[in-house]
């Protein structure tokens, strides 16, 4: 009988999908990885609802109400939750808005900024409400492991995942540590 495959869910909150692209840089190594893992809720599969999973990979910080809801769903469903990349870990580039008042940002971007036509601040009911600041994911739910980098390389993703697939604790080598 074949062993059940480890279930992985991934999401990008306030991020750029760069971490997801970097994950795919595993290239042919993905084939052997898929012998042991399967993706559940993820942009890779387009499955929208997170089911109980072994590992959750979170890219991006928390900038709006939808991010909070998705992150809490992941925490509730994933045995091990990993903050992936600079934005998930400390808010990253989106968190640069935290040094300014949110209303000032919206005013500059949508009303008074250079080249703005038809000035109006978007307020469609479908749009998730922005939070006052962009928060690291650890500010909203407990996180089990951190994988720094902007983005972490495919090698670093593997270095994090390989031990977890066999029930061991991952330890990122200092040599591979980078925040950019």
């Amino acid at each position: 009988m074949t062993k059940p495959r480890i279930k992985i869910a991934t999401t990008s909150l306030a991020g750029c999908f760069g971490c997801h692209m970097s994950f795919l840089d595993m290239d042919e190594r993905l084939v052997t990885l898929f012998e042991r893992v399967e993706f559940n809720c993820s942009p890779f599969t387009d499955i929208k609802q997170c089911e109980p999973c072994d590992i959750g990979l979170i890219e991006g910080g928390v900038c709006n109400a939808e991010n909070v809801q998705v992150l809490r769903t992941f925490r509730a469903n994933c045995t091990t939750l990993i903050a992936v990349g600079a934005c998930a870990i400390n808010g990253g580039v989106p968190a640069m808005r935290n040094y300014f008042d949110l209303q000032d940002c919206l005013r500059e971007v949508y009303l008074t900024g250079t080249g703005v036509t038809n000035p109006q601040i978007p307020n469609d009911i479908e749009l998730p409400l922005l939070l006052d600041k962009v928060y690291p994911v650890s500010g909203v739910v407990p996180i089990d492991y951190y994988l720094p980098g902007c983005p972490p390389s495919a090698d670093e993703f593997l270095q994090m995942l390989e031990p977890l697939l066999t029930g061991k604790k991952p330890l990122l080598q200092k040599l591979h540590l980078h925040y950019d």
Partner: protein
């Protein structure tokens, strides 16, 4: 004059020192690394960053400002001290604007390199998100106070080596910030020049020379290839103008 050598012991290793040397001076001379950010050989030590905290018995001291004394038994490279140093580094990160992917200094930044050296994976503490003033008035030099870690290396370099006294730290606690000695308080109206040590000694991206950004690609920079331990042991004493 005969130089009198005595010894201190750091992590069990006997290290000679001469009268007047600090623990840091003696350690660096013996190529023993004590983590540090605000120390630079040749500049008067100031004990600001506390990364160089070592234990002498049950007492914690900053190695850069504590005179070496015969028979001191010093703990340096221990997991407890390195954990404390990691916490200090995390506090320095959350206090300022240290978004590495957006900073030109990334890869050459000592604060970042200290994080790598100490295995810092997250920042642990809540971010301050303080909005601090940027001074882009100077044609060749940028000052972004958001990234300043108040090490005061630029203050000392300007006073002791450049002989200009361009910078000072004003305010206390979380209000402490770097000020510029000019009639307007702007860099453009000071006598700083791009070749000054003060314009080049910043360990982080608070003081940057303009018009040379990204000349070295990210991934090929100093701390992409070396540890801060390696570079810290290679730093030569700066030559003061009156030396």
């Amino acid at each position: 004059m005969q130089t009198i050598h005595d010894t201190i012991i750091i992590d069990g290793q006997e290290i000679p020192f001469t009268k007047g040397q600090t623990i840091m001076d003696a350690a660096l001379a013996a190529r023993v690394y004590i983590p540090h950010l605000c120390h630079y050989p040749g500049l008067t030590p100031s004990g600001n960053c506390r990364l160089c905290t070592v234990d002498i018995g049950s007492k914690s001291v900053a190695a850069c400002i504590t005179p070496a004394a015969a028979g001191q038994e010093i703990s340096n490279n221990t997991s407890a001290l390195n954990d404390a140093r990691k916490s200090i580094t995390q506090m320095l990160f959350v206090e300022g604007d240290h978004i590495c992917p957006s900073c030109e200094k990334t890869g050459n930044c000592k604060l970042q390199a200290m994080g790598y050296y100490l295995g810092m994976l997250d920042e642990h503490f809540p971010q301050f998100y303080q909005h601090r003033e940027v001074d882009a008035s100077h044609a060749r030099i940028l000052l972004d106070r958001g990234r300043c870690i108040l090490c005061d290396l630029c203050v000392r370099a300007s006073r002791e080596v450049d002989k200009k006294n361009v910078f000072a730290i004003a305010g206390r606690g979380t209000e402490a910030h770097l000020i510029v000695n000019s009639s307007t308080g702007k860099l453009a109206d000071s006598n700083i020049e791009p070749g000054d040590l003060a314009a080049n000694i910043c360990p982080v991206g608070a003081i940057l020379i303009k018009e040379q950004g990204y000349q070295v690609p990210i991934g090929q920079r100093i701390y992409d290839q070396h540890t801060i331990q390696e570079t810290g042991l290679q730093e030569n004493s700066v030559k003061k103008n009156d030396d």
